[in-house]
Symmetry: C2
Subunit: 141 residues, 2 copies
DNA sequence: ATGGGTGCAAATAGTTTGCACTGAC
DNA sequence: GTCAGTGCAAACTATTTGCACCCAT
Protein backbone atom coordinates (compact mmCIF):
# COMPACT_ATOMS: atom_id res chain seq x y z
CA UNK A 1 0.00 0.00 0.00
CA UNK A 2 2.91 2.26 0.71
CA UNK A 3 6.15 2.00 -1.12
CA UNK A 4 9.73 2.29 -0.10
CA UNK A 5 10.95 5.78 0.58
CA UNK A 6 11.17 8.94 -1.63
CA UNK A 7 8.93 11.91 -0.87
CA UNK A 8 11.64 13.46 1.21
CA UNK A 9 11.33 17.17 1.07
CA UNK A 10 14.99 17.72 1.63
CA UNK A 11 17.22 17.52 -1.39
CA UNK A 12 17.88 13.88 -0.63
CA UNK A 13 21.31 13.14 -1.96
CA UNK A 14 20.62 10.72 -4.76
CA UNK A 15 22.39 7.54 -3.91
CA UNK A 16 21.61 6.10 -7.31
CA UNK A 17 22.27 7.95 -10.49
CA UNK A 18 19.26 9.59 -12.12
CA UNK A 19 19.82 10.03 -15.85
CA UNK A 20 18.40 12.82 -17.91
CA UNK A 21 17.32 10.81 -20.91
CA UNK A 22 15.58 12.21 -24.01
CA UNK A 23 12.24 11.03 -22.63
CA UNK A 24 12.83 12.76 -19.33
CA UNK A 25 13.82 15.97 -21.08
CA UNK A 26 10.63 15.80 -23.06
CA UNK A 27 8.63 15.22 -19.89
CA UNK A 28 10.16 18.32 -18.35
CA UNK A 29 9.28 20.30 -21.46
CA UNK A 30 5.68 19.21 -21.32
CA UNK A 31 5.43 20.06 -17.64
CA UNK A 32 7.07 23.40 -18.22
CA UNK A 33 4.58 24.22 -20.92
CA UNK A 34 1.61 23.87 -18.62
CA UNK A 35 1.24 26.84 -16.26
CA UNK A 36 -0.86 24.90 -13.81
CA UNK A 37 1.16 21.71 -13.97
CA UNK A 38 -0.20 18.33 -14.96
CA UNK A 39 -1.48 15.29 -13.17
CA UNK A 40 0.29 12.06 -13.99
CA UNK A 41 -2.60 10.78 -16.12
CA UNK A 42 -2.72 14.07 -18.00
CA UNK A 43 1.01 14.06 -18.58
CA UNK A 44 0.97 10.42 -19.64
CA UNK A 45 -1.84 11.07 -22.08
CA UNK A 46 -0.09 14.00 -23.66
CA UNK A 47 3.27 12.23 -23.80
CA UNK A 48 1.78 9.15 -25.41
CA UNK A 49 1.77 11.22 -28.59
CA UNK A 50 5.54 11.30 -28.39
CA UNK A 51 5.57 7.55 -28.02
CA UNK A 52 6.45 7.69 -24.34
CA UNK A 53 4.79 4.93 -22.33
CA UNK A 54 2.77 5.71 -19.25
CA UNK A 55 4.93 3.60 -16.99
CA UNK A 56 7.88 5.67 -18.09
CA UNK A 57 6.07 8.87 -17.23
CA UNK A 58 5.14 7.66 -13.77
CA UNK A 59 8.64 6.37 -13.09
CA UNK A 60 10.37 9.40 -14.56
CA UNK A 61 8.36 11.98 -12.67
CA UNK A 62 9.28 10.25 -9.43
CA UNK A 63 12.93 10.26 -10.41
CA UNK A 64 12.83 13.90 -11.43
CA UNK A 65 11.22 14.77 -8.17
CA UNK A 66 14.09 13.14 -6.33
CA UNK A 67 16.44 15.32 -8.37
CA UNK A 68 14.50 18.42 -7.34
CA UNK A 69 13.58 19.22 -10.95
CA UNK A 70 9.90 18.66 -10.40
CA UNK A 71 7.52 19.42 -7.54
CA UNK A 72 3.85 18.94 -7.04
CA UNK A 73 1.07 21.13 -5.79
CA UNK A 74 -2.48 20.23 -4.90
CA UNK A 75 -5.19 20.93 -7.42
CA UNK A 76 -8.71 21.94 -6.51
CA UNK A 77 -9.77 18.36 -5.86
CA UNK A 78 -6.64 17.44 -3.98
CA UNK A 79 -4.92 15.82 -6.96
CA UNK A 80 -1.19 16.15 -7.26
CA UNK A 81 -0.23 18.38 -10.15
CA UNK A 82 3.41 18.24 -11.18
CA UNK A 83 5.35 21.32 -12.15
CA UNK A 84 8.88 21.67 -13.54
CA UNK A 85 11.05 23.84 -11.31
CA UNK A 86 13.79 26.17 -12.40
CA UNK A 87 15.33 26.45 -8.95
CA UNK A 88 15.71 23.38 -6.85
CA UNK A 89 14.12 23.85 -3.46
CA UNK A 90 11.62 26.39 -4.66
CA UNK A 91 8.07 26.80 -3.43
CA UNK A 92 4.97 27.54 -5.41
CA UNK A 93 2.07 29.90 -5.09
CA UNK A 94 -1.00 28.71 -6.94
CA UNK A 95 -3.87 30.79 -8.28
CA UNK A 96 -7.20 29.49 -7.11
CA UNK A 97 -8.91 30.63 -10.26
CA UNK A 98 -6.64 29.73 -13.17
CA UNK A 99 -4.47 27.32 -11.15
CA UNK A 100 -1.29 28.75 -12.55
CA UNK A 101 1.66 27.91 -10.31
CA UNK A 102 4.42 30.47 -9.81
CA UNK A 103 7.72 29.79 -8.11
CA UNK A 104 9.18 31.70 -5.22
CA UNK A 105 12.33 31.05 -3.28
CA UNK A 106 12.47 32.63 0.09
CA UNK A 107 10.34 30.72 2.48
CA UNK A 108 11.58 32.30 5.71
CA UNK A 109 10.51 29.32 7.68
CA UNK A 110 13.59 29.02 9.84
CA UNK A 111 12.19 31.05 12.71
CA UNK A 112 9.02 29.03 12.69
CA UNK A 113 11.00 25.83 12.52
CA UNK A 114 12.95 26.84 15.60
CA UNK A 115 9.74 27.60 17.42
CA UNK A 116 8.17 24.30 16.51
CA UNK A 117 11.32 22.46 17.54
CA UNK A 118 11.09 24.11 20.90
CA UNK A 119 7.40 23.38 21.33
CA UNK A 120 7.33 19.80 20.11
CA UNK A 121 10.78 18.38 20.71
CA UNK A 122 11.12 17.52 17.05
CA UNK A 123 14.18 18.33 15.03
CA UNK A 124 12.79 19.85 11.87
CA UNK A 125 14.52 18.77 8.70
CA UNK A 126 12.27 19.74 5.85
CA UNK A 127 8.94 21.10 4.84
CA UNK A 128 6.32 21.28 2.18
CA UNK A 129 4.81 24.69 1.66
CA UNK A 130 2.22 25.80 -0.86
CA UNK A 131 0.48 29.13 -0.97
CA UNK A 132 -2.89 29.66 -2.59
CA UNK A 133 -4.29 32.92 -3.81
CA UNK A 134 -5.38 34.83 -6.86
CA UNK A 135 -3.07 36.04 -9.58
CA UNK A 136 -3.40 39.58 -10.85
CA UNK A 137 -5.02 38.59 -14.14
CA UNK A 138 -7.73 36.60 -12.45
CA UNK A 139 -8.39 39.39 -9.98
CA UNK A 140 -8.92 41.91 -12.72
CA UNK A 141 -11.68 39.85 -14.32
CA UNK B 1 -10.72 13.72 -13.69
CA UNK B 2 -10.94 16.63 -11.37
CA UNK B 3 -13.99 17.32 -9.31
CA UNK B 4 -15.77 20.43 -8.28
CA UNK B 5 -14.14 22.46 -5.57
CA UNK B 6 -13.06 21.61 -1.96
CA UNK B 7 -9.37 21.49 -1.09
CA UNK B 8 -9.49 25.09 -0.07
CA UNK B 9 -7.07 25.66 2.69
CA UNK B 10 -9.00 28.51 4.14
CA UNK B 11 -11.81 27.64 6.48
CA UNK B 12 -14.22 27.75 3.59
CA UNK B 13 -17.53 28.70 5.05
CA UNK B 14 -19.61 25.59 4.56
CA UNK B 15 -22.46 26.54 2.34
CA UNK B 16 -24.13 23.20 2.90
CA UNK B 17 -24.62 21.71 6.28
CA UNK B 18 -22.17 19.01 7.27
CA UNK B 19 -23.67 16.73 9.91
CA UNK B 20 -21.73 14.96 12.57
CA UNK B 21 -23.39 11.57 12.34
CA UNK B 22 -22.50 8.52 14.43
CA UNK B 23 -20.46 7.16 11.54
CA UNK B 24 -18.52 10.39 11.22
CA UNK B 25 -17.84 10.49 14.94
CA UNK B 26 -16.52 6.97 14.71
CA UNK B 27 -14.34 7.93 11.77
CA UNK B 28 -12.86 10.78 13.78
CA UNK B 29 -12.19 8.40 16.66
CA UNK B 30 -10.36 5.99 14.43
CA UNK B 31 -8.28 8.77 12.92
CA UNK B 32 -7.53 10.17 16.33
CA UNK B 33 -6.33 6.81 17.53
CA UNK B 34 -3.65 6.57 14.89
CA UNK B 35 -0.67 8.81 15.63
CA UNK B 36 0.47 8.82 12.04
CA UNK B 37 -2.94 9.22 10.49
CA UNK B 38 -4.50 6.80 8.05
CA UNK B 39 -4.84 6.59 4.31
CA UNK B 40 -8.39 6.30 3.02
CA UNK B 41 -8.01 2.60 2.18
CA UNK B 42 -6.58 1.93 5.64
CA UNK B 43 -9.36 3.83 7.35
CA UNK B 44 -12.01 2.15 5.22
CA UNK B 45 -10.59 -1.26 6.03
CA UNK B 46 -10.56 -0.63 9.72
CA UNK B 47 -14.03 0.94 9.75
CA UNK B 48 -15.53 -1.92 7.79
CA UNK B 49 -15.42 -3.80 11.10
CA UNK B 50 -17.87 -1.25 12.45
CA UNK B 51 -20.11 -1.87 9.45
CA UNK B 52 -19.23 1.45 7.85
CA UNK B 53 -19.06 1.23 4.06
CA UNK B 54 -16.05 2.44 2.20
CA UNK B 55 -17.99 4.95 0.15
CA UNK B 56 -19.11 6.49 3.42
CA UNK B 57 -15.55 6.76 4.62
CA UNK B 58 -14.38 8.44 1.45
CA UNK B 59 -17.32 10.83 1.42
CA UNK B 60 -17.14 11.58 5.13
CA UNK B 61 -13.45 12.33 5.24
CA UNK B 62 -13.95 14.88 2.49
CA UNK B 63 -16.80 16.45 4.40
CA UNK B 64 -14.82 16.52 7.63
CA UNK B 65 -11.96 18.12 5.86
CA UNK B 66 -14.25 20.89 4.69
CA UNK B 67 -15.26 21.40 8.32
CA UNK B 68 -11.62 21.68 9.34
CA UNK B 69 -11.84 18.64 11.59
CA UNK B 70 -9.47 16.59 9.50
CA UNK B 71 -6.31 17.40 7.57
CA UNK B 72 -3.91 15.35 5.57
CA UNK B 73 -0.17 15.06 5.47
CA UNK B 74 2.03 13.26 2.99
CA UNK B 75 3.36 9.86 3.90
CA UNK B 76 6.74 8.57 2.85
CA UNK B 77 5.47 7.50 -0.56
CA UNK B 78 3.47 10.64 -1.15
CA UNK B 79 0.15 9.13 -0.05
CA UNK B 80 -2.30 11.33 1.76
CA UNK B 81 -2.63 10.35 5.39
CA UNK B 82 -5.60 11.84 7.20
CA UNK B 83 -5.37 13.08 10.75
CA UNK B 84 -8.08 14.36 13.10
CA UNK B 85 -7.38 17.90 14.27
CA UNK B 86 -8.21 19.39 17.62
CA UNK B 87 -7.79 22.97 16.46
CA UNK B 88 -9.18 24.01 13.18
CA UNK B 89 -6.54 25.63 11.02
CA UNK B 90 -3.68 23.79 12.65
CA UNK B 91 -0.54 22.57 10.94
CA UNK B 92 1.30 19.35 11.43
CA UNK B 93 4.88 18.34 11.94
CA UNK B 94 5.55 14.75 10.95
CA UNK B 95 8.30 12.47 12.20
CA UNK B 96 10.19 10.93 9.33
CA UNK B 97 10.91 7.82 11.33
CA UNK B 98 7.71 6.89 13.14
CA UNK B 99 5.46 9.11 11.01
CA UNK B 100 3.67 10.44 14.03
CA UNK B 101 1.96 13.74 13.23
CA UNK B 102 1.85 16.47 15.87
CA UNK B 103 -0.19 19.64 15.64
CA UNK B 104 1.09 23.15 15.98
CA UNK B 105 -0.73 26.41 15.58
CA UNK B 106 1.43 29.38 14.93
CA UNK B 107 2.60 29.33 11.40
CA UNK B 108 3.95 32.88 11.23
CA UNK B 109 3.56 32.96 7.53
CA UNK B 110 2.07 36.41 7.24
CA UNK B 111 5.37 38.17 6.58
CA UNK B 112 6.24 35.66 3.93
CA UNK B 113 2.81 35.99 2.40
CA UNK B 114 3.26 39.75 2.12
CA UNK B 115 6.61 39.27 0.46
CA UNK B 116 5.26 36.79 -2.03
CA UNK B 117 2.34 39.09 -2.79
CA UNK B 118 4.78 41.83 -3.55
CA UNK B 119 6.98 39.64 -5.70
CA UNK B 120 4.33 37.82 -7.68
CA UNK B 121 1.30 40.08 -7.79
CA UNK B 122 -0.82 37.37 -6.23
CA UNK B 123 -3.15 38.00 -3.35
CA UNK B 124 -2.41 35.16 -0.97
CA UNK B 125 -5.45 33.64 0.66
CA UNK B 126 -4.34 30.37 2.14
CA UNK B 127 -1.58 27.87 2.44
CA UNK B 128 -0.68 24.30 3.08
CA UNK B 129 2.28 23.77 5.32
CA UNK B 130 3.80 20.56 6.58
CA UNK B 131 7.03 20.20 8.47
CA UNK B 132 9.07 17.01 8.51
CA UNK B 133 11.60 16.02 11.10
CA UNK B 134 12.40 13.57 13.84
CA UNK B 135 10.58 13.31 17.11
CA UNK B 136 12.52 13.00 20.33
CA UNK B 137 11.75 9.33 20.85
CA UNK B 138 13.01 8.40 17.43
CA UNK B 139 16.11 10.49 17.88
CA UNK B 140 17.03 8.75 21.10
CA UNK B 141 17.05 5.33 19.42
C1' DA C 1 28.43 -7.08 -18.90
C1' DT C 2 26.19 -3.98 -15.75
C1' DG C 3 22.77 -1.06 -14.45
C1' DG C 4 19.53 2.45 -15.32
C1' DG C 5 15.78 3.26 -18.56
C1' DT C 6 12.05 2.05 -21.69
C1' DG C 7 7.50 0.25 -23.84
C1' DC C 8 3.93 -2.83 -23.61
C1' DA C 9 0.34 -5.33 -21.60
C1' DA C 10 -1.54 -7.20 -17.59
C1' DA C 11 -2.48 -6.95 -12.81
C1' DT C 12 -3.61 -4.20 -8.79
C1' DA C 13 -5.16 -0.72 -6.09
C1' DG C 14 -7.72 3.30 -5.27
C1' DT C 15 -11.85 6.07 -5.90
C1' DT C 16 -16.34 7.28 -7.53
C1' DT C 17 -21.10 6.41 -8.75
C1' DG C 18 -26.02 4.86 -9.02
C1' DC C 19 -29.52 3.33 -6.43
C1' DA C 20 -32.66 2.25 -2.85
C1' DC C 21 -33.23 3.24 1.76
C1' DT C 22 -32.95 5.77 6.50
C1' DG C 23 -33.43 9.31 9.90
C1' DA C 24 -33.73 14.10 11.51
C1' DC C 25 -35.89 18.20 11.02
C1' DG D 1 -41.57 15.54 2.52
C1' DT D 2 -36.93 17.17 2.07
C1' DC D 3 -32.30 16.70 2.23
C1' DA D 4 -28.04 15.00 4.00
C1' DG D 5 -26.19 10.68 4.84
C1' DT D 6 -25.60 5.59 4.27
C1' DG D 7 -24.38 0.65 2.43
C1' DC D 8 -23.71 -2.15 -1.33
C1' DA D 9 -22.08 -3.44 -5.67
C1' DA D 10 -20.52 -2.13 -9.93
C1' DA D 11 -17.97 0.95 -12.79
C1' DC D 12 -14.16 3.40 -13.54
C1' DT D 13 -9.57 5.58 -12.99
C1' DA D 14 -5.04 5.58 -11.47
C1' DT D 15 -0.83 3.25 -10.47
C1' DT D 16 2.40 -0.53 -10.37
C1' DT D 17 4.61 -4.62 -12.12
C1' DG D 18 6.87 -8.26 -15.00
C1' DC D 19 9.29 -8.88 -18.87
C1' DA D 20 12.11 -8.37 -22.92
C1' DC D 21 14.87 -5.17 -24.92
C1' DC D 22 18.07 -0.95 -25.40
C1' DC D 23 21.84 2.02 -24.58
C1' DA D 24 25.79 4.17 -22.31
C1' DT D 25 29.26 3.27 -19.39
Amino acid sequence: MVEQAPESVLADVCTAEVRLTPQRKRILEVLRSSPSGLTLPEAALSLAQDGIGQATVYRAVKALRRRGLVAYVHGPAGEHRFVALSNTHAHLVVCRMCHKAVEFKECGLSTLEKLVEFQTGFVVEGHHLELFGRCSQCRSK
